[in-house]
């Protein structure tokens, strides 16, 4: 079994990606994320709620960063402000030096689940971004097919999303986000709803794709194994108010495979994260007890 055809597709995709890359400075890499002194405060019935406090984060172009933290710690909110859905109350978010004011196709989003358009076929879902960018129907379909073969779903282009399994739907979601050739890929617990076996396969699959694209990825998760396995860096957040409490470099060799999950280096990193998360979860419990 060879994977030559798949590789050919990837090369075609990459060439296209390079030709479409637009950057202010010639030769500069795209996808540098800068989050400076960001507070995000929501008005609620019971007064202001600080979801994110004094967040500072720089993600280098081509870096794979996981935002890790207990649920409700504001990691999704922080990512949504990078996506342009949630404006920061204070501070600023920039991509390649440009302030983020609204969502845009330079930042591809992959959501937790059920985010495909159920009335569009798999191909139409993936072709949607290119169509919105002004591509003709034929060109958009061509791009869609390329990316569907990249995630191994070329045979399902005419299927409707609700006939696919959750894992397959998420692969379509990834293809759809990538079809815009984004410089940044934002993923909000994309594998959280999948069973353990499918999740591991999806993680390997994602790394394979990313190895070819090398775009910046911000990946939100509460799963420590997932964070260590995938990322170059783990940014750990504390629970309410959401603050960045640790920034851990993950210097595990790539390409990574399932065997890594039991290696000593992996275990060391995992323990480090576990300790941090455990402390934060305990804090959160205590706060809740005080409040209640």
């Amino acid at each position: 079994m060879t994977d030559a055809p798949v590789n050919d597709n990837r090369l075609a995709v990459l060439d296209h990606s390079r030709s479409r890359a637009k950057s202010g400075k010639p030769g500069a890499e795209r996808g540098r994320i800068s989050v400076r002194d960001v507070d995000i405060v929501f008005d609620t019935v019971s007064g202001p709620h600080v979801a994110v406090q004094s967040a500072n984060l720089t993600v280098r172009p081509g870096e794979f960063v996981c935002l890790l933290g207990p649920s409700g710690c504001g990691k999704s909110t922080l990512m949504n402000s990078i996506a342009g859905f949630v404006p920061p109350t204070r501070g600023d978010v920039t991509i390649d030096g440009e302030a983020v004011t609204e969502p845009g196709p330079d930042r591809g989003m992959v959501f937790q689940q059920h985010s495909l358009f159920p009335w569009k076929t798999v191909k139409e879902n993936v072709a949607f971004g290119p169509l919105m960018a002004g591509a003709g129907q034929n060109e958009a379909n061509g791009v869609a097919r390329t990316f569907l073969s990249l995630v191994g779903l070329a045979a399902f282009e005419n299927a409707y999303p609700n006939t696919l399994s959750g894992g397959m739907q998420q692969r379509v979601g990834i293809a759809r986000a990538l079809a815009n050739y984004p410089s940044v890929l934002l993923m909000d617990e994309p594998f959280g709803a999948l069973d353990a076996q499918t999740r591991i396969m999806m993680q390997e699959n994602l790394l394979d794709i990313w190895r070819e694209f090398r775009n910046t990825v911000v990946f939100v998760t509460h799963d420590i194994d997932e964070a260590v396995f995938l990322s170059d860096r783990i940014v750990v957040m504390s629970a309410s108010p959401g603050r960045i409490i640790a920034d851990i470099d993950v210097k595990l060799p790539r390409p990574r495979e399932q065997a890594l999950l039991t290696s000593p280096d992996f275990m060391t990193l995992k323990r480090q994260c576990l300790d941090l998360i455990r402390k934060e979860t305990l804090n959160a419990f205590q706060q809740q007890n005080k409040a209640g």
Binding site: F117, A133, A155, P161, T163, A177
Partner: protein, 313 residues
């Protein structure tokens, strides 16, 4: 053969069973489903059971439905021929056999078809207007709080008024009988279309809107590609209900008419004491209403083909 090196992993992941109802909750129920090869394209497979199974299940159910109607006709025949009179009086009610003879006479003449044609024309004009205006107003109300606050009071106030009550005003306000009848029919169909459209548009899934925005969609594109398709099941339900209401509003409107229309035919038969014709008129309205509603549903099916198969529809 290193399967890990192959990005395409379509054989590794079992497909979900198709019978997950009309919701698209595609959870990872993988217990019983075997691995399916990539060439097995599920979307193109028809999940309908073979003909023999169809006969045993759906066929039997239709047989039961027809029998249910037949039983009613037989009871009616017996009640009429025997002059059943116990609180409900069947003395003056023509038996189905009598109605049948009258119906054959009508079907061989020309008048009857003219009545039907006139009614169909009125319903068609009124219905198309109701659908166009209703969907536009409904989308506006669902998308804009201003539009909803301005339009909703009118709807709440006018909706409970029965079609018959509009007859005097319709005659006073509109230039011709035809326009009065069409106006009354239009009003009947309009409200279900508006309200169902509003309901559908307000149910728009915010995750899908966010997905579309992050893919670079404009407001217009979101309306076209996300809001309207998402509201479509509700809109189609409104269109079907609206068609039914149009037919029974038509009857009220055609009381005005001096010449043609199946509602006029029914009403006129009453004044002329032609009892079999009353029943023919009633059943014709019922039949045409059902038929048109069915046509609306069938006609809208292509818009909803993305919904899960196997659910009750």
């Amino acid at each position: 053969m290193d399967s890990k090196s192959n990005v395409a992993m379509q054989t590794a992941e079992p497909l979900e069973e198709a019978d997950n109802g009309s919701t698209n909750a595609a959870t990872e129920e993988q217990a019983s489903a075997p691995a399916v090869s990539a060439t097995d394209n599920r979307a193109d497979n028809d999940s309908r059971p073979p003909a023999r199974v169809w006969l045993k299940t759906t066929g039997v159910r239709y047989l039961v439905r027809i029998m249910a109607l037949v039983v009613a006709v037989v009871l009616w025949e017996l009640a009429s021929t025997n002059g059943f009179h116990f609180y409900i009086n069947f003395d003056n009610i023509p038996a189905p056999s009598v109605v049948g003879v009258a119906l054959v006479a009508e079907l061989t003449g020309q008048e009857f078809y003219l009545h039907i044609l006139h009614s169909l024309e009125r319903v068609a004009i009124a219905y198309v207007m109701a659908v166009v205006i209703g969907v536009i107003l409904g989308v506006a109300m669902g998308r804009s709080r201003w539009a909803e606050d301005i339009i909703l009071p009118y709807i709440e106030l006018l909706r409970p008024i029965p079609a018959v009550a509009w007859i005097p005003l319709a005659i006073l306000m509109l230039p011709t009988e035809q326009s009065s009848i069409i106006f009354i029919t239009f009003l009947g169909a309009l409200f279900p279309v508006i309200l169902n459209t509003v309901h559908g548009v307000e149910q728009t899934n915010s995750v899908l809107v966010r997905a579309a925005r992050s893919l670079g969609a404009s407001r217009t594109a979101i309306l076209w590609h996300v809001v309207l398709p998402g509201a479509m099941p509700s809109i189609v339900a409104g269109l079907a209900i609206g068609m039914g209401v149009a037919w029974f509003s038509l009857l009220a409107g055609e009381i005005i008419s001096g010449q043609y229309g199946i509602g006029y035919y029914t009403w006129n038969s009453y004044t002329l004491i032609q009892y079999p014709q009353i029943i023919i008129g009633m059943l014709t309205i019922g039949g045409l209403g059902t038929l048109c509603t069915l046509l609306v549903r069938k006609g809208c099916n292509p818009l909803l083909k993305w919904q899960a198969k196997g659910g009750r529809s």
